[in-house]
Amino acid sequence: MNRVALLLPLAWRNLWRNPRRTVITLAVVAVGMWSILIFDVLFAAVETSSRDQALRVMTGEGQIHASRYMDDPNVAYSFVPGTAMLAVLNSPQVSSWAARVRVPAILQSEYETRPVTLAGASPEQERKISVLPSSLAAGRYLAGDDDSGIVIGRDLLKRLKTRLGKRVVLMTQASDGHLAQSGFVIIGVYGSTTPVEDEFVFTGRHAAQELLGMGNRISEISFDANAGTRLDTLVAALRTAALANDAHQDNTTHGQPSGAHPSLVIEPWTQFSPIAAAIENVSSTYTAVWLAVMFVLMAIGIVNTQLMAVFERTREFGLLMALGMRPGTVILQVAIESALLVAIGVVLGVAATASTLAPFGDGIDLNFVASGVDRYGLGRILYPKLDPSTAVVPGMIVWALGIAATLWPARRAARTAPVIAMTQF
């Protein structure tokens, strides 16, 4: 270790003897590091965006419905979550959950009539599980469970030829079969999502239950598992809880024999959105391939540069060895130099990534691509996030690679007899 102490200041000074070479090598390492981190961050942002679009609008990672509901999303197929189920939902296994009324309805303005899906929601719960409350294009979101204003999608607003602040009439089939109708004032407009999601019309859950005469019954529960919980474990726990609450289920018409099987259906998103699940699987492979490519490129760059840097100094090493430095020490010196150099390069790369991403704190706006595309649509803006921990592993790999890349040429250089080294290089 004495050797190291001796060599350290020497190594540092050596780096700056040939600033150009050092800077170039730093540049390669920094750029390599930057490119890997940028890719990583962008991929994560794209994945989050896709996930948001797929799961964090209305779906959630899992859903609970009464068993006939998926065939016929009727007010009749509603339920009250039992105590066992609520216990699981409120446990730390679940990061957020939302109970909703969700039935087909008709929305009417002075000029047009459109079929929609009425969603009676609790804003407090929705904010935690859905991105929709925070993607309003105009107006405001629901203020509480009792809020009887409605929030509708932008496209629907246009098709109905109505505006924020105007009243529209909602018609839907109530629990007892009669046609319930009420006037609602449009209090908020959310940005376009896909047309399927645009058909959602939100009002307070209690307001919806009252209109439909549902009491405290609901149509569905969406839930997200906590980061540390496996989704299938959670689903199993919920299914057990559902069985324990058969007595509470309330399937009215088309009654089924209860007790023989649970009358609630609990499904993870991979089951009710198989395409999205497949795409997510493919995406992680895709990401891994891209990152591997970047690593290889970066490795080539660093290796190339380091090779050149070391070979260039063959004469210098020859001189040192002629003066008595042992070959092993030469190699060690080279190793220390590159350790320092690459470390600085890695730090620079991380800094470069941070500064590249800084102006995009509000997200990368992809709207330049499509003319007339709604600014507030989900997926239009990517939110890259640089998490310091993501830089650690690539950083270590790059560091190790950078040092390793110098060892072979250093050995070659050190093996060359000093005389030859000094004269022929």
């Binding site: 040939n18 150009r20 070479r21 170039i24 540049a27 390669v28 750029v31 390599g32 490119s35 940028i38 890719f39 962008l42 794209v46 998926m70 065939d71 016929d72 098709r159 896909t194 047309p195 399927v196 198989p274 395409i275 699940a277 497949a278 795409i279 699987n281 493919v282 492979t285 891209w290 490519v293 970047m294 290889v296 490129l297 970066m298 080539i300 760059g301 290796v303 190339n304 540069t305 090779l307 050149m308 840097a309 260039e312 990368i364 992809l366 330049f368 691509v369 499509a370 595309v373 649509g377 997926g379 239009r380 990517l382």
Partner: protein, 406 residues
Amino acid sequence: MIFFLAFRNLWRRPQRTILSLLSIAIVSGLLIFMLSFQVGVYETMKQSTLRIFDGYAQFQPPDYADDPRLDRTIANPTSIAGLAQSVSGITAVSPRINGFAVLANGGRSYAAAVVGVDPSSEEKISSIAHVIRKGRYLQASDSAAAVIGALLARNLGLSTGSRVTLLGSAKDGSVATDVLEVKGIYESGVPELDRSILEMPFARAETTFGMNNAANTIALGGPTLSDVNAALPALAAIAHAHGLALLDWGNLEPALRDNLRLKYATSMLFYSTLVAVVAFIVLNTLLMSVLERTREFGMLLAIGMRPSKIGQMVWSELLLLAALGTGLGVAAGISGTLWLEHVGVLIPQFSDVLRQFGLPQRLYPELSLFSGLFGPAAIFAAILLGGLVPYARVRSLTAATAMRAN
């Protein structure tokens, strides 16, 4: 002469040159494949979505898309269909009647869309005919027949052989009624469709809804989406001549079109980063080599070679490197992509899902002039552009200082 020197210079340090060539070649080839694969996958996505029901293009009455009323019609659909069929690239034309009715069985009633189709034409356009789970699809000889979605069947309590009552409005507003026998039950995989569409024979729908030799839409199909897109100008002429609107795939599925545009934008971010990085790495190497050879250049200057000539020589090295690298990349990329175009890429998790929807299970890249050349060209250009830096460096050398460099 310059090129010859340049070429020889490259090979003075073979490992370095080979590494640079490899990086350029790998990334060029990769970009070719990635772009082609992306295009191919998106084409598959488009075709899969459109094949479920829409068709690759449609003739519609003007304003029908905004307000699809039964009384908005296309007159003489058969003759227009004939005209469309004669356009090259179009192999399937299916006129449709889009009505709306209450379906009833016993005490249950549900509202549904009722579509009058010609079975033999419709089979070539819509995959509903191919995802019949029980019974069979409609046949030319059928009259009072219907094919319904699985969820609709369940909700109404219908099975093959049952009768279903239809009560709706005809074109002139009068009551349209019919009683049909369920011949088949389909499962398209899209719950909204399975819950809300009943298909019946065109001729019968014409009578029931009082259409009087008119249809609401004419769906068009071809061997591939690109074939139909290529035929769009000819189809537009037909549409114009008959006062109809022509809807292309983007009009039929605007959300999908938006989505894909976004995906292209995102991937452009990645591709540009990749091109920038590879160019940087190559140039970095070159710059180092130029710096390394400063003494040598000094000598050349001393013996009379003009700086511009040396500059050209360096630039030629760059050019050759870029050309060789991208050339290799293009060759490898194109042949690899062509091979995979033939063989297809099987992604296990995906193929299960695709099979469920009655779609082809392998994914195929689609090589085009653009995907084949864009990536390599971008790299080539980036390298040449960045090469100005070492070039400038060389041009600024003077013999005396150069020879003294270490």
